[in-house]
């Protein structure tokens, strides 16, 4: 609809009540918070034709108004919390109490995947950034659906929170860069009612350097898959905190999936009867690659 408004065409879109927050948030992200919607009680999908016809009849005045009346900026829901300050402070009776306070606040803000987070302190961030030769302020990409500016430092902060080590950071940055590619059409995978998750498939020497498991139980859980787990988790946190794909507001996945917490594996190149996946795509066997495929 924003594409059409940009072309000078007034628009209005039917939107089910459950998707109003999502629609408002999307309209704001695309720079048109005034975009009118005609609210119907339920999604049209799976409703019998008579019910759809009745819902449309009940919303037709909103359709006419949306196309013919001047627009006003809609109320944007405030479930999402954006804070301008670069550094945040938390207090506790001891360090554990302060960590708990941070976790509780991040959970309330929607910045957490639900598991405890490691605090991205200045020292932890400094250590994590040693895992890359890139400058902390380098822009890795702009992530949909919220068009968040993913700098190396922001990616590193989310990697710290996920429990990553510095040697894992390149395997977190690469898929974030991949997800920012327009042709991957991230908003189509991050926002819908389906449980899409970006499976990351790692090839080349970085598998060993980062400790990734390509063998038994590679998708976790457990100690052999520690790197897989935390790298996968870091990318999920990046989707949320850098792309602003927050469940219930801008990620409308109907049921969700355990895979969305973390999904990262290394190819067992040594045991495979086939050439490594990246070699099949024209890369040198000694090159390190990360492939992102939504599953």
């Amino acid at each position: 609809m924003t594409l059409l408004e940009k072309q000078g065409v007034p628009t209005v879109a039917f939107t089910a009540e459950a998707f109003v927050r999502d629609a408002r948030r999307s309209a704001e992200s695309f720079g048109l918070p005034e975009l009118p919607i005609a609210v119907v009680p339920k999604p049209f999908t799976n409703q019998p034709p008579e019910a759809i016809r009745a819902m449309v009849a009940g919303a037709i005045d909103q359709v006419i108004a949306g196309l013919t009346r001047p627009l006003t900026r809609a109320e944007i829901p405030e479930e999402l919390v954006f804070i301008d300050e670069e550094w945040l402070e938390f207090e506790g009776e001891d360090l554990l109490g302060a960590v708990r306070a941070m976790n509780e606040r991040f959970l309330a803000y929607g910045w957490s995947d639900g598991f405890p987070l490691v605090p991205p302190t200045e020292g932890a961030l400094e250590q994590m950034l040693k895992g890359t030769g890139r400058s902390p302020e380098d822009v890795v990409g702009v992530l949909e659906p919220g068009f968040g500016l993913a700098t190396v430092k922001k990616v590193a902060a989310n990697a710290v929170m996920a429990g990553c080590r510095p040697e894992h950071l390149p395997v977190v940055i690469a898929p974030v860069e991949c997800l920012a590619e327009p042709k991957i059409y991230l908003r189509n995978k991050a926002m819908p009612t389906c449980a899409h998750t970006p499976l990351r498939w790692v090839n080349g020497p970085i598998r060993k350097r980062s400790g990734l498991n390509g063998g038994i139980c590679a998708l976790g859980p457990g100690a052999p898959s520690f790197a897989n787990t935390v790298i996968g988790r870091a990318v999920r946190l990046c989707l949320m905190n850098l792309g602003h794909a927050y469940p219930g507001v801008s990620d409308m996945d109907t049921v969700g999936s355990p895979l969305k917490y973390s999904a990262c594996v290394a190819e067992n190149e040594e045991a495979s009867p086939w050439p490594p996946y990246h070699v099949g795509h024209g890369f040198d066997p000694e090159a390190s690659t990360v492939t992102v495929q939504f599953v």
Binding site: V9, V12, A16, M102, P119, L143
Partner: protein, 97 residues
């Protein structure tokens, strides 16, 4: 008390602002585009919309549109939006959600 200072992990948005298209005062005589992304039920909704608007706006004309890319769901591209913009005055859309 112990103080913990942490880096804000949330990215700032790259903000844009578009001006909404100017609205006509009524829909009579207008070319009305009905846009569907192919998700179930949306076609029924748009046909009903056409029926309901035909009576109060007898001079309105209607055209049905879908996005050009995608399989189960069809999405509009900037090129597709340009084409629709050349052919209609207003658009009513549904994604069925």
């Amino acid at each position: 008390m112990t103080l913990l200072k942490v880096f804000n992990p949330v990215a700032k948005s790259v903000k844009t602002h578009l001006e909404p298209a100017p609205r006509p005062s009524d829909l009579n005589g207008k070319r009305i585009g009905l846009y569907w992304n192919l998700k179930a039920g949306g076609d029924v909704a748009l046909k009903r919309t056409m029926e309901l608007l035909s009576e109060p706006f007898p001079g309105a004309r209607f055209g049905f549109y879908q996005g050009e890319v995608g399989f189960m769901m069809r999405h509009l591209t900037p090129k597709g939006a340009e084409r629709i913009a050349r052919e209609v005055d207003v658009v009513i859309g549904t994604t069925s959600d």
